[in-house]
Subunit: 505 residues, 2 copies
């Protein structure tokens, strides 16, 4: 009997987040839901990540309503969300009771599986959310943000997995957002987790396709004992997205593994999204091939092009090589954070500042916070001299406690503020929407009754490809925004003001 | 010590043949040759296949001159060509001394490695070419055309490999033109060949990327002992092309295998072809993702769309499902040929005829030839009733001998005819050019002195994407043409003439 590998389908969340700037409207998803529900997936990732933000910022959609729609249309499939630990779906740490409330409401509205991660792998940023999920009786999946550095080891990741198991996680996810996970480390990591935590500990693998190696990593991971993998239906796969579901199904033939997915349903889902994709042409990623430079540069492709445009704006386009060489140094100074949102932008922008204005002459507020511990603990020690500069520039203290421990109870204040807004319906869900995006929610509340705004267009009435999709601007406070936001810094140095605009990698 | 896996780089032949209709001009290749020569490839496939045809048909280039250019610019790397056995690079069987002469001249002009294949895997179609290569002292690589059917087994392919070894081949290639080779069969096949033929028999794997599974197949093949694989530099990879060279290099880290390729050279080659690719936008394949339907339908994606357009021309667009269901039946009737050029077109067109005009009421000339043995032996028996129809319709006999045994010496006639043409330079190379493409060569000879015609264009001055690239028409006699040729049949049935146009899949 072949071992069944469980599949999490990403089409309704990460696939369109990675390939079309999270712009897909609910009404473009619902026609596929019946087939998705019939295909036999272990779960469907369909909520969280950047979708919440995108719903209220670009689509005039209530994200909670989207979730309830999925719940109704897919009664037989586990609905899964991605949750950024103590950040929930927003861009700051939330006080614990807000975390509790969010998880309760997500479960109540339909989420079965919560994948919880933290960009720094600081277990203290995960604890509260995981405990909250356990109280709901839903599936708590603890995720490890995969990266490599001189300090990241298989042993270290296995220890983290053990901590997640100790917190009561129902499964462990290895989450590789930059397609860095090569076949051999994939094998070693899964083997290590299974040996240390027990063969019964469920391991799920999430990889992107960007570097072209990760389909092989999935194979080696399941040879090492992985129980499930994430894939996306082929019509919205590859490039910065994920490996195609149908290819994964086919590749297992005769190997002793099997997905038990219904191929006929997959074909229908594929054909359907083939018709949706061209409507979002202007948001489509213009990367369709592979990029392997990240293995040497440590710098994700999108981050390089953003730094290049920052430098050009400063009329310093000729200094890109200096900046690229500076990035790994800034990463070392800041204790080797994984270079993913938000840390890729924080480190990248600081590297630009270092080159343009001198080493650590000016720190961004975010970089200072990272150095002072306000994002959590980094794997490596951070440079004491730069910590001192950060403290001096911001007037803040270095902290070593769990960042959320510094927060005061805030639910009542959030509730009061939300309820005062025109269009707020008074539900806890609306309060949470306001809590996540205080700058965006008021406008959304006031326009909600106009109904969803589908930004997809007739493919023949659209401009070519995508660079334009990065130019949507967004409010100042969403500095770690994953969608297509940008932040503008006014930096004063020697009496001269520099305006620097930063986009997420 | 990791085992070194040898890499054959496809960028100069199959990559642009698969992705940009074989249109790349020599002058767009030469700037990369120094880096290619330095990268440490085992060989560079750079000649043969459809490139010869494309040179004289579209680019006004002398293919022999292209080869000599490569030889000069890449003195340290084996130059490799793809040879269609007794067909050489043309669309019919050639008499043995023409085969000998072609191989001699190719070796003399610079080819080091001859990959020799036959679409039907009829060893008799390979013998003469392999013997000719051995006489030159160059590397003879015998290729197995991989497919699956109820009759194709690992055992059968291993037996074929043994026959190729017995013919004196220096290596065996498993050639998977339709991306059908899944990981487990890849493993079993290599293991089987190594066990049956000896661990020292060198095995090379050629796969396309179309179905999204074959990067994993390469991994499993080398785990089973494969010595080399084919890849293409990433900027011209994936889709109907091949797996990216750089991804293959990276994926091996820590596995006990290594390519020893110079990553810095690969990066330069990648960046260079990134600048070339957009110039050929109008020829680029519009398939960038994966297609897995072939595993069930047996019908390559390109073949389906061609059959659809044939049917539409006949105002029978609603009968496509019937035709798709007919294809496997026609394949069974004709003894399960692999569905690749030319057999995919032959079988596909007959399926269309069967549905539009009744089962085997009208046979195409090519299908009749296939049934009567004029392409060689098929793996399975062919339907005796249809063989009889074919004999009746064409007046030809069923043959069981090697098809080329029926040919009379032809070199002198070819030479005489070629030399009579304006612009023919009297060399054996020119005679061979004429022999390959008697319809195209005369025009080429007469225009050769005008020099190469680069069909690449400023990317801003081009129409979108590619469907147009299939509409280039080509002379009637090149029915099995691999480039972008089409054939028009006038079919008379019950007094009514039907005009049916067929393009290669």
């Amino acid at each position: 009997m072949p071992k069944t590998i469980d599949i999490t389908e990403l089409i309704l969340r990460d696939a369109h987040q990675s390939l079309m700037a999270t712009r897909m409207a609910t009404e473009d998803m619902t026609p596929a839901c019946e087939d998705i529900d019939k295909a036999g997936y272990w779960s469907v990732e369909c909520w969280g990540g950047a979708t919440f933000d995108s719903c209220i910022r670009f689509l005039n959609e209530d994200p909670w309503e989207r979730l309830r729609t999925f719940r109704k249309l897919m009664p037989n499939t586990r609905l899964q969300m991605l949750l950024r630990g103590q950040n929930l779906l927003g861009y700051r740490h939330y006080e614990d009771t807000v975390v509790d409330r969010f998880v309760e409401k997500a479960a109540e509205n339909g989420i079965d599986v919560f994948r919880v991660f933290d960009a720094l792998n600081d277990i203290r940023n995960l604890q509260r959310a995981i405990a909250a999920v356990r109280r709901t009786g839903k599936h708590a999946q603890g995720a490890i943000s995969y990266t490599f550095s001189p300090l990241h080891t298989i042993r270290g990741f296995v220890d983290l997995a053990q901590k997640l198991v100790d917190l009561g996680c129902d499964s462990i996810c290895i989450k590789d957002m930059a397609a860095l996970l090569k076949p051999q480390p994939a094998y070693d990591l899964v083997k290590g987790i299974k040996e240390a935590c027990g063969q019964n500990v469920r391991v799920q693998i999430h990889v992107h396709a960007t570097t072209g190696v990760t389909m092989v990593s999935l194979m080696k991971a399941i040879e090492a004992g992985a129980d499930g993998v994430d894939t996306a239906i082929s019509s919205l796969s590859l490039g910065p997205g994920h490996n195609p579901t149908e290819s994964f199904v086919e590749m297992l033939e005769g190997t002793g593994f099997d997905t038990k997915l219904d191929k006929n349903s997959l074909l229908k889902i594929k054909k359907y999204f083939n018709t949706v994709r061209p409507r979002y042409k202007e948001f489509l990623s213009n990367i369709t091939g592979v990029e392997t430079e990240i293995f040497d540069s440590q710098i994700p492709g999108g981050m390089i092009s953003n730094m290049e445009s920052q430098l050009k704006q400063q009329k310093a386009g000729d200094r890109v090589d200096e900046v690229l060489a500076e990035v790994p140094k800034v990463r070392a100074v800041s204790g080797y954070p994984p270079l993913v949102t938000p840390t890729s932008q924080i480190v990248g922008t600081q590297a630009v500042f270092n080159i343009l204005m001198g080493h650590y002459k000016v720190l961004t507020g975010e970089f200072a916070d990272l150095m002072l511990g306000y994002y959590g603990e980094t794997i490596g020690p951070r440079d004491p001299a730069v910590i001192e500069l950060a403290a001096k520039q911001t007037g803040k203290q270095l902290i070593t406690c769990r960042p959320a421990d510094l927060l005061k109870p805030e639910w009542q204040d959030l509730r009061t503020a939300a309820l005062a807004m025109p269009g707020c319906n008074g539900s806890d869900e609306d309060v949470l929407t306001f809590a996540m995006f205080p700058q965006v929610a008021p406008k959304f509340f006031s326009t909600r009754e106009q109904g969803p705004k589908n930004v997809g267009k007739d493919p023949n009435a659209q401009p070519d490809a995508a660079p334009a999709s990065g130019t949507q601007s967004a409010p100042h406070d969403t500095g770690k925004g994953p969608v297509q936001t940008k932040i503008t810094y006014d930096v004063k140095l020697n009496g001269k003001t520099h305006r620097v605009t930063v986009k997420p990698a």
